[in-house]
C-alpha cells in the first residue's frame, strides 16, 4: 500500500459514514482505510447499496411462487411465461439525480433499469414509469421537472428501440421538493439464456466493456442517493450522469450476442457505485476475490485517481467474467459492435477485493467486509401522534353540484388524460403492443420471442401475451400505510384481471423519507406488512425491487410511496378487454369497490380535506376472490369492456369509459358522493350483454349510447367531458 496517510474519520463522516461504522471498518481491516478503500466502503455501506435500514423488513416478503425462475438478489427477477420463455423485470428509482437534473436524471434512470434487465440475458421489451411531482398549477418548478423528466424518459427509450407502454404520474404537494422518478423494465429471454452475476473460477478474466470512464456521478451513490436534498442543489449538478442511448444500444446488442454465443461466466451492469459495487457484488455472490487494475480502465479524460475510477458512475458500462481461453472471442464481439472491451482484472481465491495501479497495490479489502458486514439498523417505528401532512389546497367548493364536481375531477392534474405524456413515447417499436396506454387498464404485449418471431397461434387462433401494470397511490398510503399499500397491490392485480391476465410476479420500489425518523419507520414497516399480506393473499411472489429512502425536503417527508409493478400472462391477446365502451346498447354494470370511502379520495383532495387517520379495512380474501371471475369472463370474451374503479371513484371511471370509446351512457347511480366518487379496492365498470354482467354479480345501472353522460339529473355532453379531460395538454405548450 502507498505511503499516503489515511484520510481518517472526518472524511468518512463527510462521505456519509457514522463514527461507529468507521470504527467497524478499522476493525475489519485491522487498520485505517486509505482513500480508495474509504470511498468503496462509503458507497457499499450507503443505504442505496446495503439496505441497512430496510433489509430486515424486505426479508418478510414472500419470494416463492410456481412461476418464479429468478428471485431477489439478481439484477432483475424473472418468471416463467410458458413456451420456454421467461420475463425478467424490475422497477428502480432515480429520484435524487432527477431532482437535480430532470432530463438526464430520468434518462439515465431508464438506461440503468434497461441494463439491469439485459444483464440477466433478457432483451428489454417494455418500459413503464411511475412519476410524482408537486402541484403543477401552483409550481413552475414542478412543471419544469415534469416536462424535462418526460423528455428524458422518451429520449432514452425512444432512441434505444424499447417501447414505453405504460406508466402513471401523480401530483401532490409533498413531492414539491423531492420528485419521484421510478422506471420499470421488462425483458424477454429463452429460459436457458438467463445468466447470474456471481463471479466464479479463479484466473477467469474480468472484462469491462462499454463507454469510457469519466468523472460522472462521483459520490453519486452516497451523496445523491442517501442524503436529504437541501434547497440549493446547484452545486451538485456537475456530478449528474449523462446518458447516451446510442452507446447503450450497442452495449445491449453486444451483451446479448456474447450470451447467445455462450462466452460468459457472469455478467453485471455498472450502476450506482460503479465498478466498486459491480465487482464487489460479483465477487461476493461467487464467494471469490477479485484483483482490479484501475490503470487498465479506459478513461474519457486523463488524471482520474484510483478512487475516482472505482466510484465513477459513468453510464453504459458492463462488467463480465470469461474464462481465459474465451477472452479473445469476447473482445472480437465487442469490436464488431464498436464497443470498447478491456480486460481489467482477474478472479482470485483470496476472498479480497484488491486494487492495483501500475502493478502497485493501492487498496485491499475483504469482500465480505464490503458487502456483508455493513451494520444493520433496527427501525424504531412509531405512529405519529399528529398529522404529518398539511391538508391539500382547496380547489373545489364543497357545495359544487355533481356536474361541476365531475368535470373538476376529470380536469384535475391527477385524473386528466395522460395522452400528452404518452404521445412523447414510442409505444410501438418491437411490434408487441396490443393495448397501448389508456386503451386498457394494463399494457398487453404479444409473446413473440426476443427476435420478434411470434409462435404459431393456438388451435383456435389464440395469441399468448403478457400484461403489465404499475401503481402506487402515495396519498392513500399516507392516510393508512398498511391498507393503502394493500390497495396498490390489489389495483395492479385488478388491472391485470381487466385484460384477462393472471399475475405471476411483482416488483416494487419503496420510496420513503428518512427511516431513522420513527414516523417514517412506521410508514415503511406498515407498508411492507401490507405488501407482504397482499402478495400472499394473491399468491404472487416478489421477484425483486429497490428501496429509495431519505426522500425529504425542507417541509418534511414525501408521501410514503410504494410503487408496485405486476406482470401476468394471458392465453389470448385478442380477448384482452379494452376499457372503452364499444357498442351502443350494451348494458353497463358496476361492481362497487370494497371499503369505498371519500377519505383520502381525489374528491376530498380537491375540497381541501385533511387526510384521515386510517382507511376502511379491505377484506383481502374477498378482494382476491373477485378477481378470478372477472379474469375468466374476459378470457371467455363475454364482456365488451372492463375498467377498474380507481382514483376518482365510479362516476369518473364511467366517464373514462365513455371518453375512450367516444360513446355516451345513460345510467342511474345513487345520488350521493360516496357512491359516485368514493375510492376503495377491486371495483369495476363493465359493459356487455346484461346476463354476463349479472352473472358476475355486477349491478346493472344503465346502457351505452348517446352523445352525453346522463345520470339522473346530471347530463354532460361528451365534448365537455373531453375538454375537461384534456387539461394536461396545457402543461406541454
Amino acid at each position: 500500500m502507498g505511503a499516503e496517510a489515511p484520510p481518517g474519520l472526518a472524511e468518512a463522516v463527510e462521505l456519509g459514514l457514522t463514527e461507529g461504522e468507521y470504527a467497524l471498518i478499522v476493525e475489519l481491516l485491522g487498520r485505517e482505510p486509505v482513500q480508495v478503500e474509504l470511498a468503496c466502503f462509503s458507497l457499499l455501506w450507503s443505504e442505496h447499496c446495503s439496505y441497512k435500514h430496510s433489509r430486515a423488513l424486505l426479508s418478510t416478503l414472500p419470494t416463492e411462487g410456481p412461476a418464479l425462475v429468478m428471485g431477489p438478489g439478481e439484477n432483475a427477477g424473472a418468471v416463467d411465461v410458458g413456451d420456454g420463455m421467461v420475463v425478467a423485470f424490475k422497477v428502480e428509482s432515480h429520484n435524487h439525480p432527477s431532482a437535480v437534473e430532470p432530463f438526464q436524471g430520468a434518462a439515465t434512470g431508464v438506461g440503468g433499469i434497461l441494463r439491469d434487465v439485459f444483464a440477466v440475458g433478457a432483451r428489454p421489451i417494455a418500459i413503464l414509469d411511475s412519476l410524482r411531482f408537486g402541484e403543477p398549477a401552483q409550481s413552475e418548478r414542478s412543471r419544469y421537472l415534469l416536462d424535462h423528466a418526460v423528455g428524458g424518459i422518451g429520449h432514452y427509450g425512444n432512441s434505444i428501440g424499447v417501447p414505453t407502454v405504460g406508466g402513471e404520474v401523480y401530483f401532490e404537494a409533498p413531492y414539491e421538493q423531492n420528485c419521484l422518478i421510478n422506471a420499470m423494465c421488462l425483458g424477454l429471454a429463452p429460459r436457458e439464456r438467463l445468466i447470474r452475476s456471481a463471479a466464479a473460477g479463479p484466473d477467469n478474466v474480468l472484462i469491462l466493456f462499454g463507454a469510457r470512464t469519466g468523472r460522472d456521478g462521483i459520490g453519486g451513490a452516497s451523496v445523491l442517493a442517501s442524503a436529504e436534498l437541501s434547497a440549493d442543489d446547484e452545486h451538485k449538478r456537475p456530478s449528474v450522469q449523462i446518458g447516451d442511448p446510442f452507446e447503450e444500444k450497442k452495449l445491449l446488442e453486444c451483451s446479448l450476442e456474447l450470451l447467445d454465443r455462450g462466452l460468459l461466466v457472469a455478467l453485471q451492469d455498472l450502476g450506482a457505485a460503479g465498478l466498486t459495487s459491480s465487482a464487489a457484488e460479483m465477487a461476493s455472490k461467487g464467494e471469490v476475490g477479485v484483483d482490479l487494475h484501475v490503470d487498465r480502465v479506459p478513461l474519457r479524460e486523463p488524471g482520474l485517481e484510483p478512487f475516482e475510477i472505482m466510484v465513477s458512475e459513468s453510464q453504459e458500462r458492463m462488467l463480465c467474467v470469461a474464462t481465459p481461453d474465451r477472452v479473445a472471442d469476447v473482445l472480437a464481439i465487442c469490436a464488431h459492435h464498436e464497443v470498447h472491451g478491456t480486460p481489467i482484472g482477474t478472479v482470485t481465491d483470496t476472498g479480497r477485493m484488491r486494487i492495483f495501479e501500475h502493478g502497485e497495490m493501492v487498496g485491499d479489502m475483504p469482500v465480505r467486509a464490503l458487502v456483508d458486514d455493513c451494520p444493520r439498523y433496527a427501525l424504531d417505528p412509531r405512529k405519529p401522534e399528529a398529522p404529518l401532512y398539511p391538508p391539500p389546497a382547496r380547489s373545489l367548493d364543497r357545495g359544487a353540484g355533481a356536474a361541476q364536481t365531475l368535470t373538476a375531477l376529470l380536469a384535475s392534474a391527477n385524473l386528466s388524460s395522460r395522452r400528452p405524456l404518452f404521445e412523447q413515447y414510442d409505444a410501438l417499436v418491437q411490434s408487441r403492443t396490443v393495448r397501448r396506454p389508456e386503451q386498457a387498464d394494463a399494457s398487453v404485449l404479444l409473446l413473440s420471442d426476443p427476435d420478434g418471431r411470434e409462435p404459431a397461434p393456438g388451435p383456435l387462433g389464440e395469441r399468448p401475451a403478457i400484461a403489465v401494470s404499475i401503481d402506487g397511490s402515495g396519498r392513500r398510503v399516507a392516510a393508512d400505510p398498511y391498507t393503502g399499500t394493500v390497495a396498490a397491490v390489489l389495483e395492479c392485480a385488478a388491472n391485470l384481471a381487466c385484460v384477462g391476465a393472471e399475475p405471476l410476479g411483482l416488483t416494487n420500489c419503496l420510496n420513503f423519507g428518512n427511516p431513522e425518523k420513527p414516523h417514517v419507520a412506521w410508514q415503511l414497516s406498515e407498508s411492507v406488512r401490507g405488501l407482504g399480506d397482499a402478495c400472499r393473499a394473491l399468491s404472487v411472489p416478489v421477484v425483486g425491487g429497490n428501496v429509495s429512502l431519505y426522500n425529504e425536503g425542507a417541509d418534511g417527508p414525501i408521501y410514503p410511496t410504494p410503487v408496485v409493478g405486476m406482470v401476468g400472462a394471458l392465453p389470448d391477446a385478442r380477448r384482452a378487454a379494452p376499457l372503452a365502451f364499444q357498442r351502443r346498447g350494451d348494458a353497463i354494470g358496476v361492481i362497487a369497490p370494497l371499503g369505498a370511502s371519500l377519505g383520502a379520495s381525489e374528491l376530498h383532495k380537491l375540497r381541501g380535506e385533511p387526510l384521515p387517520d386510517g382507511l376502511p379495512a379491505i377484506d383481502l380474501p374477498a378482494a382476491v376472490a373477485r378477481l378470478t371471475p372477472i379474469r375468466d369472463a374476459v378470457r371467455a370474451g363475454e364482456l365488451s369492456s372492463v375498467h377498474d374503479i380507481a382514483e376518482g371513484g365510479a362516476l369518473v371511471a364511467i366517464a373514462e369509459c365513455c371518453l375512450a370509446g367516444a360513446l355516451g351512457a345513460e345510467i342511474e347511480l345513487e345520488d350521493d358522493d360516496e357512491a359516485r366518487f368514493g375510492e376503495g379496492a377491486v371495483g369495476f365498470v363493465l359493459s356487455g350483454p346484461e346476463p354476463a354482467l349479472r352473472a358476475l354479480g355486477a349491478r346493472v345501472i344503465g346502457t351505452v349510447g348517446g352523445e352525453a353522460l346522463r345520470a339522473g339529473a346530471l347530463s354532460i355532453p361528451l365534448a365537455e367531458l373531453a375538454e375537461a379531460h384534456g387539461a394536461l395538454a396545457a402543461l406541454f405548450r
Partner: protein, 225 residues
Amino acid sequence: MRFGIVRFPGSCDEVDALRAAERVGDATLLWHTERDLKGADAIIVPGGFSYGDYLRCGAIARFAPVMEAVAEHAREGGLVLGICNGFQVLCEAGLLPGALLPNTGVRFLCRQVDVQVENASTPFTWRCERRDTLSIPVKHTTGRYYAPEEVLDDLEAHRRIVLRYAPGHNPNGSSRDVAGVCSEQGNVMGLMPHPEHAVDPLTGSDDGLRLLESMASAARVVGHH
C-alpha cells in the same frame, strides 16, 4: 422476391421491418459496413437513430458503405423505401428531394394518423386506390417535411407526393401535408409514417401491409436481379 433491410448501429425498427417484410416475401438484414445487398430485390432503410443521429438525422448514415450499394441499386431502377430515419437518410443522400426538420411541436410524437394515397400508380402504392385512407402510426421528433416552394410545386406537378396526411392529421407541420415522396423515376420512396408498424389489426392496423405488398409484387414484375 427478397427484401434487404439495412441495419445501422442505432437502428430501432429494423427487426419490425424484417418481420413485416417476411409477411409478403423473403427478407434479410444488411449490416451497415457491407456493400453486398445479398441479392435483395427491394431495400428498406428502416427507422431508428442511425449512429445516434447526433449531428443531424441521417447525416452520418448516408456515408455508410451499405448506402453506396443502395444508391447503386436505386440508380439501376431497384426499389428503395426509406421509413422515418430511413427517409431522412435518403434525403441526406440526395436520393430524394427535401429535408426533414424538427416537428413544429418540438417534442417526439407517437400517434396513429390517417394518410391519403395521392398517387396509386407507384410501385409502393399500386395495391391501393387513389384517395384511399390508410391508418399508420408516426413516431418521430424530426419529421416536418420541407422543400422550397418551387420544388414542392414540381413534386405536385409530377405526382411525386405519394402520400399526404389526411386533413387534421398532419402531426409535425409538414409542408403541404406531405407524408411521403418518391424519386423522379418513382423507384425510391421515403415516408415518415411506419408501415412496418401497421401489419396486424391486433397491434393497431394492417394498412401498412398494402405498401409492402405493392413493393413485393412490383419487384416480382420488374425482376430487378
